[in-house]
Amino acid sequence: MKRLVSGNEAIFQGAIRVGANYFAGYPISPTSEILQQAALYSEENPGFRFLQAEDEIAAAIATISASLAGAKAFTATSGPGFTLMQEALGWGHVVEAPCVFVNSMRVGPSTGMPTQPAQSDLLQVKAGTAGDVYPLAFYPNSVEECFRLTATAFNAAEESLSPVILLADAFLSHLYELVDLEGSTLHIVPRTKDPLGSGQRLFTGAAHDKMGNVKTSDPVNYREWLRELKDRHDRVAERYPFFEYLPCKNSETLLIAFGMTSRVVLALKDRFSIFRPIRIYPVLEKELEEVSQSYRHIIVVEGNDGQYASWVECALCQKVMKVSCLGGGFKLKWIQSQIEDGLKGVGR
């Protein structure tokens, strides 16, 4: 049966439906509701474990450790908390812990505008931690998709043996839509890793070989290890090349938008073609290349100062136009005028 559900609730329910049984978190807008739901759920379901941690560092470490202990674990936060989680995220990649980190974005840097939506943590997803990592990240734009992509994130985590990022934004977290959660079916990838307590393995953040022997001054071993990690993530990413493409016959302009900005620019679908990446990272290079060929102009509309645009430019080896919706402002009229101005500038 359809009922009104918020983005945050859909994320939580999606996690429960794929078998999540551990949550650790620290209060922060706009994901506190996920923490609260987890607290209540754990009271009613003893098999589900919950930790309100003393900070996001602990929340992240607990999520990864619970995963290694055998749980399907997740955490939820926003930009400032995500920053505190970065060291743990790097560790999670090295010790190969399948788990899900939800980051619902608000305006930064620092405390910024805590209740206003933003999309400004994309670079943090890819490059927030020390060293090279290849995280998978998905970004829904509806409540229904929050539910489904949470499940996808858990599945991709099991397959890639790594923390997978589910992005959202303050708008989406608090958006209510009519959806039928109970009636939806989800694909579930079961646990892939033997839990702690079943061997003599060392799970270490230090560089190591396949036997778990620490190898902190062996470049050959390191290179092999990193290549394998990258290959595995690429293989899993290929399974989830999610995007939405709405071509508009007479348009020479392609708008690229995702999450809440894609909801706003949807109103322009009769004038411009729209491409919405759902898998945010790794960047959908092949798909972007194919689609962009038919257009003279490419405009990335996003809630930050050109983060995704810079990835598109790299992927296409060309400059693109940027519309930066900053400080929580996502008005269609304003976006439209920015697009018009931009196109005038290049002589449409």
């Binding site: 003393e54 560092i57 450790s65 619970a66 055998g70 307590g197 953040g205």
Partner: protein, 344 residues
């Protein structure tokens, strides 16, 4: 001598990375010996370490072991124990890792009291990074970052960890071997959070600067600084080696009281209109009256109306029924005040 404890060590990874004479080896060995006695092994035990020379310990244990980012082993151990209550979970790490960068987790994991045991190799220095002052470095000690002597007094782990029951805090040294083993055994068997503060030596990067030529000279120094106290204790002095522990006495839960609402007869009460009520607003020395569910109360004595004569949310001289129904406090708050009339 029984050497069977060696099956608990990853001997294939030896020689280990520690300096000759370092106290960490003694910690690893003695923990393994007691584990062997207790029948703890890879089938039922997980070891967790942070970063540091001490943090290398779990990697030499022949078990599933976790080597976390710097400062985070307590959180990891707690999460593992939460998910797998059937496993014995122990932490082996250093004072810098557990008490400085991991200090916040020390406060909160100990407060939540998971059933884990922590062995802190307390060498009073940052070993791995070359000999900087740590959280437990005694005041006046010269280190790389306190070239004229450490200015600040050290963290007193024994006090922090014995503030609220239940707790288990043991202090011992790598020199007082029998005592050391007793502490390990009792800690491993303790139900709840147990912490063993093991005074240990970093001969290379602390001892030599202090003028000691051998590890053994440092051990003798430990013997001068500390003495063993026997028997049950709930606190330890800073120069005492021993075990301080406390369990919480089960406090019987008070039987839930049935809520009795005072029954007050309405007849005979002075009737008020809303306009009349509004005059009793606390201004210019007038009393403060408020209505609730048809009754008028005198709230002049309420501390919330002193000073500015105004509560955070409610103003005097008003009907409060709606406000109170959504207020964070219960309505019983208002029944405490004198009843002076009823609403018309």
């Amino acid at each position: 001598m029984d050497r069977s404890y060696k099956e608990l060590l990853k001997l294939r990874r030896f020689p280990h990375t520690w300096c000759p004479g370092c106290g960490i080896g003694a910690v690893l060995k003695n923990v393994a010996m007691v584990m062997k006695e207790l029948g703890w092994n890879y089938k039922n035990t997980v070891a967790v370490s942070g970063i540091g020379c001490s943090g290398r310990m779990s990697g030499y244990m022949n078990l599933d072991a976790l080597h976390t980012p710097h400062g985070r082993p307590l959180t990891a151990a707690e999460a593992i124990k939460t998910v797998r209550s059937d496993l014995n979970v122990m932490v082996l790490s250093g004072d810098g890792d557990l008490a400085s960068i991991g200090g916040n987790h020390l406060l909160h994991t100990s407060r939540r009291n998971p059933d884990i045991t922590v062995f802190c190799n307390d060498n009073e220095i940052y070993g791995l990074t070359g000999g900087q002052a740590g959280p437990t470095t005694p005041q006046g000690t010269k280190t790389l970052t306190s070239p004229r002597g450490e200015h600040h007094s050290p963290l007193r782990l024994g006090r922090i960890l014995t503030q609220q029951a239940p707790y288990f805090y043991a202090r011992t040294t790598v020199y007082h071997l029998n005592h050391f083993k007793t502490c390990i055994r009792e800690a491993l068997l303790w139900k709840g959070f147990s912490f063993v503060d093991i005074i240990s030596d970093c001969i290379e990067l602390n001892g030599r600067r202090l003028g000691f030529k051998t590890a053994h000279q440092m051990f003798k120094w430990f013997d001068e600084r500390f003495h063993i106290v026997e028997g049950e204790r709930d606190q330890l002095q800073e120069d005492e080696l021993g075990i301080a522990k406390a369990v919480v006495k089960e406090v019987p839960r008070p039987a839930e009281k049935e809520e009795v609402k005072p029954e007050i007869p309405m007849e005979g009460l002075k009737p008020f209109t809303l306009e009349e009520l509004e005059r009793f607003d606390g201004q210019e020395g007038r009393p403060i009256y408020m209505a609730y569910q048809g009754k008028v109360y005198d709230l002049s004595a309420s501390p919330l109306f002193q000073g500015e004569k105004r509560m955070r949310c409610h103003l005097g001289g008003k009907d409060l029924t709606k406000d109170l129904d959504i207020a964070p406090h219960g309505e019983d708050l208002i029944f405490k005040f004198p009843l002076v009339g009823k609403m018309e």
